[in-house]
């Protein structure tokens, strides 16, 4: 099987889904989809031993070779880990969705097309070596994710959530693209491998830090880091299989993938270390803090996802310090913890979402205030829930315990980092992380005990609750099984998956050996006491939940968080501001638009003049004055100005005619007989036409011809007049200084010899430049036809013309 097909197969298969759906009405479409992720998963498993040996698989096909954009599939430890997560969880999610979505009432073809689109895009993100290709797939994940969130597009909240996630992730993705372009500007290549090879050169480049910040914006918005996390809780309007797949295990980890992928370039830089660690820890705390206040099961899980993603991000930041110390064991612990928690989070969060979906599916509600006492009715679901929650809270012997312990270890080791002032700040980080862990413990308890323990309240539920069908149970059961297995035997993945992943995060040669060894019992270490403290204090807090939850209302933080309010306010502001600006300039009045155009012209030309044209004119050599011409000019000026003061239509038309005749007179004076003839004729026809049109007009509004004086109009028109005058003067003066021989001498010499005519103007019109005349005739013809159409043609039955 071709490697490229791994990425393209979901896209190609998505093409067939609508046909399958249409022609096999009685079989759930999911069954046709199911085999694809299974095959991909098994195929990708083949690479595990290869990658574990340190080999790298690469295959390239040219896309836009002239721009260096090539479609390169690149499989190393990191890419393989993510690809396995995507296909493995994809299989389970498809299986789960077969039982979750009903064949009769849901448009399944849409669902599976979007899902396959997403799966292919996500595989493309993690397996691409080219930044532009990665970006294309990155945006495809945003798009398909929005489509999936708005799967029930009839609901307003779904559309709101989809739009919000699209806005935020695409804005971030765009910043990321800018960062990629900056990387290209520094290195001249889009290939991640080649950029990493040039790291030494670009570290001191001016664009290094800007490109880092832009790329991190993309990563943070995708991975729901503070303050871009607000789209994730609203994305919970998606069907639960989607929440489990996209919003807990795969898409939200794309940002984490990006950070890990580009670590070889940026790690070791203090900005990178601080930005990622601090944003991560803030997200960790913020998510955990708000998760407690939620009453919707999926919202709790969403905030919990935000919080755990912050944890992983923070660990990647701390782990980047290892580059300074030549990858010593104690500093690489943080990266190890990040990878381990990444895997663990995918397992337990996926299963928890599926459990929430089961509760929703079987009872009709996800509100923890309405649920309760389900433990005897749904014992299997309860077991799955408690496994997932305990792992999330970090309780022995599940896998969450291991990654939490390693998280503490990473934090404690980070105090020893000497470069970045960590002696001081390390303690703060530890305290914040520890408090966040307590909150994590509390909301994990809420998830299980509020929904399964306590009093049963059947009157709130829309359905008679009963245990779910086997198909809904199997996928979360497999995940819960993995939670337990990975908890009990944590080292089964260490050499095959985790070590190669760490090699790719640090871009080290395979000869460098990491000792990945994870123990349950590592003595009476501070980590253990921290965990015990979390459990004790968390338990006490949970017992007294009612008393201290008032803190939230005192802080005016109920379910809605302040960042959401800011987001909504900002959108509305944007809307209103753009409306106001549009209304301000788009007045709908011709006069205003003309004023804009003319004022702009005046200023542009005025500026150019003041800057480039010297004011010292040589007054052009003036041809001889004749007194009668001067009188004509004076008369013409008077006539022209007088038109401004005329309030009667007919008089104004006649005065315009007079101006036209004066023009003809000027043509006579300045020796242009043909022009004079044409002008006389046309001016006559025009005046007649004017009178024809306007003499028969309704008389009721005669006064409308009067125009009131407006100072701005006067200033603009004087400006235009001055502009024209000055341009004419200047060009005349300049042409006097540098005279150019006119080409007309050629016409004068050759008109008789070549064309056999003595009237120079006519010869030019029909002989030398006949094409102009041809087209001018065409203009007249079109005008005439247009007139006929205007007069004869009537659109009936329509008011708007």
């Amino acid at each position: 099987m071709n490697l490229l097909l791994v990425i393209l197969a979901p896209f190609l298969y998505a093409l067939f889904i609508p046909f399958l759906y249409k022609h096999t009405k009685h079989i759930h479409t999911g069954w046709f989809v199911l085999w694809l992720p299974i095959i991909l998963f098994v195929y990708l498993l083949n690479f595990v031993p290869v990658v574990a040996k340190g080999d790298i698989i690469k295959k390239t096909i040219d896309w836009v070779p002239s721009l260096g954009v090539n479609f390169t599939v690149y499989i190393d430890g990191l890419g393989l880990l993510f690809a396995l997560l995507i296909t493995g969880l994809g299989t389970l999610v498809v299986l789960y969705s077969i039982y979750y979505l009903s064949l009769q009432s849901e448009p399944l073809n849409n669902f599976y097309v979007y899902l396959l689109l997403f799966m292919g895009a996500m595989l493309g993100v993690v397996l691409s070596d080219n930044l532009i290709v990665l970006y294309v797939f990155w945006e495809l994940t945003s798009l398909s994710s929005s489509l999936l969130i708005a799967y029930w597009y009839q609901r307003e909240k779904s559309r709101y959530g989809a739009l919000k996630s699209l806005f935020i992730t695409v804005a971030g993705g765009f910043a990321m693209l800018a960062g990629f372009v900056l990387l290209y500007a520094m290195t001249g290549t889009f290939s991640i491998r080649e950029i990493i090879a040039q790291t030494d050169i670009i570290v001191n480049h001016v664009l290094f830090v800007p490109s880092m910040i832009l790329i991190l914006l993309g990563a943070f918005s995708k991975s729901a880091q503070f303050p871009f996390h607000i789209w994730l809780p609203d994305a919970m309007e998606a069907p639960t299989p989607i929440s489990a797949y996209l919003h807990s295990a795969t898409m939200v980890k794309a940002g984490i993938f990006l950070v890990a992928r580009l670590s070889p370039i940026y790690a070791g830089n203090p900005h990178w270390f601080w930005i990622i660690s601090i944003i991560g820890i803030i997200t960790l705390f913020w998510g955990a803090f708000f998760a407690i206040r939620q009453t919707d099961l999926k919202s709790i899980l969403a905030y919990s996802t935000v919080s755990q993603l912050g944890l992983i991000m923070c660990l990647l930041g701390l782990g980047s310090a290892a580059v300074h110390y030549n990858y010593e064991q104690i500093y690489t612990v943080a990266t190890l913890a990040a990878i381990l928690h990444l895997i663990n989070h995918a397992t337990f969060k996926g299963s928890l979402f599926m459990v929430a979906g089961i509760i929703d599916h079987q009872t009709g509600t996800r509100d923890i205030d309405k649920l309760g006492g389900l433990v005897t009715i749904m014992p299997i679901t309860f077991t799955l829930a408690i496994i997932g929650s305990c792992s999330m809270a970090g309780i022995f012997p599940f896998n969450g315990f291991l990654s939490k312990e390693l998280f503490y270890t990473g934090l404690i080791n980070s105090i020893n980092i000497e470069t970045f002032n960590m002696e001081l700040w390390g303690i703060t980080l530890i305290v914040i992380a520890w408090i966040a862990s307590i909150f994590t413990f509390v909301y994990s308890m809420i998830v299980v005990f509020k929904s399964f323990m306590g009093k049963h309240k059947p009157y709130y539920l829309k359905k008679e609750p009963k245990e779910a069908s086997l198909g809904l149970i199997i996928p979360p059961a497999i995940l819960a099984f993995l939670v337990v297995i990975l908890g009990l035997f944590p080292n089964i993945l260490s050499q095959s998956i985790i070590a190669p992943t760490m090699h790719s995060i640090y871009a080290l040669a395979p000869t460098h050996i990491f000792e990945v060894n994870i123990y349950h019992w590592h003595g009476l270490t501070p980590e253990l006491f921290m965990t015990i403290g979390v459990i004790v204090i968390g338990f006490l807090l949970y017992k007294n939940l009612d008393k201290w939850l008032k803190v939230y209302s005192v802080l005016k933080l109920n379910k809605k968080e302040p960042l959401n309010t800011i987001y909504d306010w900002f959108l509305e502001l944007l809307d209103r501001a753009s409306l106001r600006i549009t209304q301000l300039q788009m007045t709908g009045l011709l006069r205003d638009y003309l004023a804009y155009i003319l004022i702009f012209m005046i200023f542009l030309i005025g500026y150019t003049f003041s800057k480039y044209v010297s004011t010292q004119y040589v007054i052009p050599e003036i041809s001889i004055y004749s007194w009668y011409i001067l009188i004509f000019i004076f008369m013409a000026i008077c006539t022209t100005i007088s038109i401004l003061f005329i309030n009667s239509r007919v008089t104004a038309i006649i005065i315009t005619g007079i101006i036209g005749f004066q023009l003809a007179l000027f043509f006579v004076i300045f020796r242009a007989p043909d022009l004079a003839l044409t002008k006389l004729l046309i001016e006559t026809v025009m005046t007649v036409l004017f009178l024809l049109c306007f003499y028969h007009l309704p008389k009721l509004k005669k006064e409308t011809f009067k125009s009131t004086f407006k100072l701005t109009n006067a200033l603009i028109s004087i400006g235009v007049g001055l502009m024209v005058t000055v341009i004419a003067f200047t060009s005349m003066a300049l042409s006097n200084e540098n005279p150019i021989k006119p080409i007309s001498n050629y016409f004068i010499e050759n008109s008789y010899e070549l064309a056999g005519g003595k009237n120079l103007v006519n010869v030019i019109l029909v002989d030398f430049r006949g094409l102009d005349t041809l087209l001018e005739v065409l203009v007249l013809a079109i005008a005439a036809l247009g007139l006929i159409a205007l007069i004869k043609h009537r659109v009936k039955g329509k008011e708007d013309i």
Binding site: R591, I643, G660, T678, T704, G721, T725, P742, L787
Partner: protein
């Protein structure tokens, strides 16, 4: 002479611009006519207004007026005539349909 003509052209442009900035259709059309007059005269003036003979070879003069701008102006006059005629009838039809010649009353649909 050229200077005086340029001043006149400036006046034509000023008055024409002032006319097209008002809100009555007829005034706007008249303003456009004045602007085109200005442009034609400008073309003629810029080629020089010396004491020459008309561009007719039969005159057997020493120097002729430049024929090229005249040909250009002739083309411009005719095109201008076509466009103005069309504008006029358009204005007339607007009157007929809307019973007004005031541009401020001629707005598009109300939800604009």
């Amino acid at each position: 002479m050229e200077i005086m003509m340029i001043v006149y052209i400036g006046v034509l442009f000023t008055v024409g611009t002032y006319m097209i900035l008002t809100n009555v259709i007829l005034r706007i059309i008249l303003g456009i006519i004045l602007l085109s007059h200005g442009a034609h005269l400008l073309l003629l003036t810029m080629s020089g207004l010396g004491e020459t003979s008309p561009p007719l070879l039969g005159e057997n003069a020493i120097s002729y007026a430049d024929p090229l701008p005249q040909a250009l102006i002739l083309t411009a006059i005719v095109i201008n005539f076509g466009v103005t005629a069309f504008l006029l009838v358009l204005g007339y039809r607007t009157y007929q349909e809307h019973q007004t010649d005031n541009l401020e009353e001629l707005r598009g649909s109300s939800d604009e």
